[in-house]
């Protein structure tokens, strides 16, 4: 059996994870084709402000008369884009730092891990707010800010994996074969250390989406795009009279983050050798 079908067989056993994957698939589809198919600019004053859901506006309009469904679809793009890009960046930086520290050891390990610890002691959301506030809020800055506060936990995990793999006999065998350190790190140890890193990377997507929502709720989002957090931020002033305006993007964030977490949990069970039945 090929590795992929074996993986799917294990993943399928976790029902909630399959559900999460379906929901996540729908969100991805909505982000990819929704804005084009729906065809309404989320910034347009499409109708009267604060209307209830109707045939013309399936989810109603917000305080400025903008179509909420159009905002939701455009926001899906932003949330997924920033979530995935920030997570990838954080995973790359974290893996590089953790792998180097774990493989080389000694004083380099000590220095890299103290730097990592230093980052971990700063409350991450406050740190992200600080970075975005210093630079001009844009998709790139927000992504890098979220990545900058997310990499340390990846680094710690990658380091732990590399430390446990470094003294395995197959590493000695590769050395005895004449392989160099970089080749051993990237081509021999990394594939062994990857499963937990993939899992934490997928969970980082969820926390990055939450962080982005938080930033744009506080008005630190990219002003040129609509995002879910921004929609909640706009609607918070009318929370008592038009609760659905905040509730709709809020529930969307909740469902998306929950789906990603379920997928991450499913990946963990399918990839983690310790949870694999013999």
């Amino acid at each position: 059996m090929s590795g992929l079908s074996l993986f799917w067989q294990r993943y399928r056993r976790n029902r909630p994870a399959v559900g999460g994957l379906v929901v996540l698939g729908l969100v991805v589809l909505a982000a990819a084709f929704g804005p084009l198919a729906y065809g309404i600019d989320p910034f347009d004053m499409a109708g009267r402000p604060s209307t209830l859901p109707s045939a013309r506006f399936p989810l109603g309009t917000d305080v400025s008369g903008r179509d909420i469904l159009a905002g939701l679809l455009a926001g899906a793009r932003v949330s997924l884009l920033i979530g995935i890009a920030a997570s990838l960046t954080a995973t790359l930086i974290g893996s590089a730092v953790g792998a180097t520290a774990g493989y080389v050891g000694g004083w380099l390990d000590a220095i890299l891990m103290r730097v990592t610890d230093f980052f971990l002691t700063i409350p991450s959301f406050v740190f992200a707010v600080l970075i975005v506030a210093i630079f001009r809020p844009s998709v790139a800055v927000i992504t890098l800010a979220i990545a900058a506060v997310s990499w340390p936990s990846v680094a710690r995990l990658a380091r732990a994996e590399f430390v446990s793999q470094r003294h395995r006999e197959y590493v000695s065998a590769c050395r005895a074969m004449g392989m160099g350190h970089l080749e051993i790190m990237l081509r021999q140890i990394l594939p062994n250390a990857l499963p937990p890193v993939v899992v934490i990377g997928s969970l980082t997507v969820a926390s990055a989406i939450l962080a982005e929502a938080g930033l744009s709720f506080l008005g630190l989002g990219d002003p040129n795009i609509v995002s879910w957090g921004y929609m909640i931020g706009v609607a918070r002033t009318v929370l008592r009279t038009a609760w659905w305006m905040s509730a709709i993007p809020g529930v969307t964030i909740l469902v998306t983050v929950l789906a990603i977490n379920l997928v991450g949990e499913g990946l963990n069970e399918a990839l983690n050798p310790r949870m694999r039945p013999r």
Binding site: G106, Y170, R175, A176, G178, R187, Q188, P191, N192
Partner: protein
Amino acid sequence: MSPLLAVKGLTVDYHGMHNAERAVDGVSFSIARGETLALVGESGSGKSTIAHALMRLIPRGAGSVSSGSIAFEGQDLLALPEAAMRAVRGGRIAMVFQDPMMALNPVHRVGRQIAESLLAHGKATPRTAIDRAIELLTLVGVPAPEKRARQYPHNLSGGMRQRVMIAIALAGDPALLIADEPTTALDVTVQAQVLAEIAAIKSRLGMAMLLITHDLAVVSETADRVIVMYAGRMVEEGNVEGVFSRPAHPYTRGLLEATDWEGAASDRMREIPGSVPNQGEMPPGCAFAPRCAIATERCRIERPSVERALHGGGVSCFAAGSPS
């Protein structure tokens, strides 16, 4: 002709928390081209450390070669720059490890692992590597090599895995093969097969071999010469035939008597009383003196040097040759 490998006065210390531990103490030996030398001893006698010292694979923080020299094919391995040493590893000296399940990378197909070894030493191009890997699998007696090459280590049996390890070792076309307990982790039934395979390939390719084992039966079947190690020191060396028929050192005699095999001098198994001394409790004289039945006062204070033995090899014992 100078020997392929000449080791002189090799001393290896492991750095403990407070004190250095001497794992190998002034060991000298040489291996001629095509010859098989066996290193025999209990675990902790320093035989694996010698192998790792030859490959310069003792982790920097853990220990180091304190003195001695290793001359291989006219090069001083201890003085070689790291880049040149990498070409020696796997290229001129290859190693087969004890447990092939641990020594193979679990996430790569075995064909790829052999191919990586070929590519590391320029013995194949990326296009030809897999075909050459399949040839090597055939050479080491793996049936259906095309199918096996696409499998992962956990799909193979222990004997097949060790054959894959041997194929990886052969990939660089080495002049010296270090086999560190190559059959210990295998089922008894396949031990003999794998050993015969190694011996056959060795003679076909004209390689020399350093065989590390605690199994005297393996030594008598495979090796030309033998070195008996005790607590990091060499106690006896010589031709297998001579050492086994006329062991000069009381420890060698004890080992032979403690082993149940056809060639053993006695038909009754006997154990050696006591245990290997811990580092730090090493006696000032002969390391074996506390367990030795014929030890004298001199053995306890003075360390014997390696002298010529009756069987033509060397022995490190004051009472060598005298009947016990």
